[in-house]
Amino acid sequence: MSHSGSAAPYISAIKAAVLIQRWYRQYVARTEMRRRYTWHIFQSIEYSGEQAQIKLYNFLGYLMDNFTPSSTERNLISHIFRENDVCWDSEWERYFCYKNIEVPEVYSGPHLTFPLTVEQAVGLLEAFRNKKQLHSRYVLQLLLETWKLLRMLPNINRISTCHSKEVTICGDLHGQLEDLLLIFYKNGTPSLEKPYVFNGDFVDRGKDSIEILLILFSFMLVYPRDVYLNRGNHEDHIINLRYGFTKEVLTKYKIHGKRILKLLQKIFSWLPLATIIDQKVLVLHGGISDTTDLSILTKVNRHNYVSALRPPKRRNHSSAGMSIDIEIDDDLWSTSKIYQRRASLTYPKPLGPRECFHNRSLQDFSTRIKANMENELENSKRREVILAATLHRSQQDILSVSTDSVSSDNAKDEWRQILDLLWSDPMNQDGCVPNEVRGGGCYWGPDVTEDFLNRHNMQLIIRSHECKQEGYEFCHNRKVLTLFSASNYYDVGSNRGAYVKLGPDLVPYVVQYQASSMTRELTARQSVGRTERSALKVLREQLFAHKSDLLCAFKKFDTKNTGLVCLIDWASAVESVMHLNLPWRMLRCQLVTCKTSDGMINYYDWFNELAIKGPNTDHIDQSLLETLYRHRSTLETIFRIVDTDNSGFISMEDFRQTWKLLSVYLKMEITDEDISNLAETIDSNHDGSIDIDEFMEAFRLTDKKSRLERGRSMFMHTTSDLTKLESDPNV
């Protein structure tokens, strides 16, 4: 008895310890679960946005190829396909001309003299840190020098870690200047002793894309043999239209922005495609495929691929003088079906060999286009003069675009190689299948890595392109390393950034970091909670934007029209509409807060819960509003395409044409009356032109505080007062 008396406190101590330990582990598991599905939400939405942009581009390409020259739509969009206005190098040099641009006395930013010195490059860093902007004269000058240098570089750079040099490799930066500054702070700026490789995606989403470019270019000019840049899929003007870089440049450089963008198009096309270190480590942005062949890649004329999304033009012309890209476009992916990728926690099942993937078929558009064409013929007469000129120039362009004659098969092959390099993602299963989620490149498996490395006698692939929570991730038996250098990418606290150091032993040494002191103050739980709320907010918006389709889907299950569906049906219906492959059951408690009786969900109540209200929109048809909201990114992109002089304004007439385009693309009816109503609401000063930003704002189509509006990623909302989080039970 005395024995048990003395043992009792000990046993309770163990019990207590075990209790707490068990509880703690449960807490960790649940937090990890929340973190995973939050991540999955952001990633799904991000990838489906990329897919949407590619589809839009393909759609516009299709229009180009199918509209007659007298069509208005064609005229509106043809300019984005006219990639090289000026072709000869000497003409380019004239176009770069910065000499006429005067720098006013009041300008307080840095002044550059060439050749650039390291002090100037560092000075530029400091200036940007202090929120200064480089004058357009110097920007143009810098770009000119950069272009001259890039033209001399091979497609694949080869560097060595001779003696004791360590190479530092950085992944996606996406306009996040704070991260670049942090890297330079921790690791030192580039120098002869400190070579760097930057692995693409310098621009878009973040708000300081142009500053990042200028910094990278200037260090490259100072240390041409110690700073290497690889092209990423965002170094592409088509992508830039949607993801913020175009807008950033036009906003910061109101007078010369357009020229700067045009030059950057050229510069992007001249960026090298990959870097090889010590002949053993391959560094490239996206990845590889089962057909990647470095010997082909070494020989391509990379500058012909101004946008990786556009296959090279063939020299075959129709009698109308338009280039025919349809045959090559056959390789592009079908828009009739949306494929999804499972969570980053799970990996896609192989869908079949690449060769038998569908041809694109936009036949469902053809009837609408015909109808449109007929309407347009009536209005086209006043456009003909302009059009004739356009056509003439198009013909010239086509004839002069490329003096290298490439057989169509080779061209297709080359193009696919480059696309794969910039867009592919690794997967866990063996094989190689098309990357339908993003719409470009492929998913490649460990066997492909193994084969590739053996064939080229290499040991490691370092790539970027995918955001990782820790800033990096190994896969394929540690033969592939994903590196991502934009911390807090989806939201404050969502992920760390990382860079890699590689010495002569070629063993990667990873350094992680996280920008913004705010994140350090948040505990892990607060961080997850915050990101989770952010993700759920985005998700609710997406759900609301699909209200009509969801209603349809629910009604299919609710045959008796009770307004209720059971949980299983709710989850199926939502997934069938959203195609995001999210764990809807798990998210249900966060998404549906209206009380349900005996497990049924009242979906009308639910929609009321989700509803997003905007000002002055009562007289606008609700379903139109919903459509606008759902496709706001596409809408804004189309606006920017139509706004040919990049002024931020489009005329009423072009505005109407935009709607016609959109209605064809979305396959829905937007009547003239709808358009007039909209126009009246926006053109408040009735001067016949519409301010794009005002339009998007008028319908709350942009969250003014969202990253997209500030040029940052579309997910982050303003950082709320952290002290408020303390008492928040949801955190």
Partner: protein, 194 residues
């Protein structure tokens, strides 16, 4: 004046402490060590269809390979994510006391997981708020509602299913007052509020 037992007690405490070895080695305390693995085929699944779908979804989230299975070493976490809190030992027993290699490499499909989960749910060990508070009261030397943070750390890292330093730091972040004491009722409320 009964002979003082206390001096012996610490000695007793120190003794078995090294005995709880890492994960699968069976321990002398509550459950019979050498008992054979539970016969899972005899477990009757009492979940509703809705519940099974919920669990299937969660299970899928943990499948990192795409083969519709999860590794042995993930089972405990899935159960915790679904609201249970088994000890690692209980889970190990369900899996037939696997070796560390087995834990990392062997996988189980959802149908195999369900009976394990049912067993855990059926087990009577459901701790409530009061149980946790009682458990911590053991360390309340002065009976004033507080425990020493330092003592708690030692206990958590040496007894039961030991926690490592990082885990303990995360758990105790911001809980200790300036004297290094923790008000344990508030602590339990805090940790249970996830």
């Amino acid at each position: 004046m009964a002979p003082k037992k206390d001096p012996k007690a610490p000695a007793k405490k120190a003794e078995p402490a090294p005995a709880p070895a890492p994960a699968p080695a069976p321990e002398p305390a509550p459950a019979p060590a050498a008992a054979p693995a539970i016969d899972l085929s005899s477990v009757k699944i009492e979940f509703s269809a809705d519940q099974v779908d919920d669990y299937r979804e969660a299970f899928g989230l943990f499948d990192r390979v795409g083969d519709n299975k999860v590794a042995y070493n993930q089972i405990a976490d899935i159960m915790r994510a679904l609201g249970q809190n088994p000890t690692n030992k209980e889970v190990s027993k369900l899996l037939g006391n696997p070796t560390p290699e087995d834990m990392a490499n062997k996988r189980v499909e959802f149908e195999g997981f369900l009976p394990m989960f049912q067993t855990i749910i059926n087990s009577p060990n459901k701790a409530q708020f009061e149980d946790y508070v009682e458990g911590l009261r053991v360390f309340d030397k002065e009976g004033n509602g507080t425990v020493m943070g330092a003592e708690l750390r030692i206990v958590l890292s040496t007894l039961g299913e030991k926690m490592n330093e990082t885990e303990i730091d995360a758990l105790m972040a911001g809980q200790e007052d300036e004297n290094g004491c923790i008000n344990y009722e508030a602590f339990v409320k805090h940790i249970m509020s996830v």
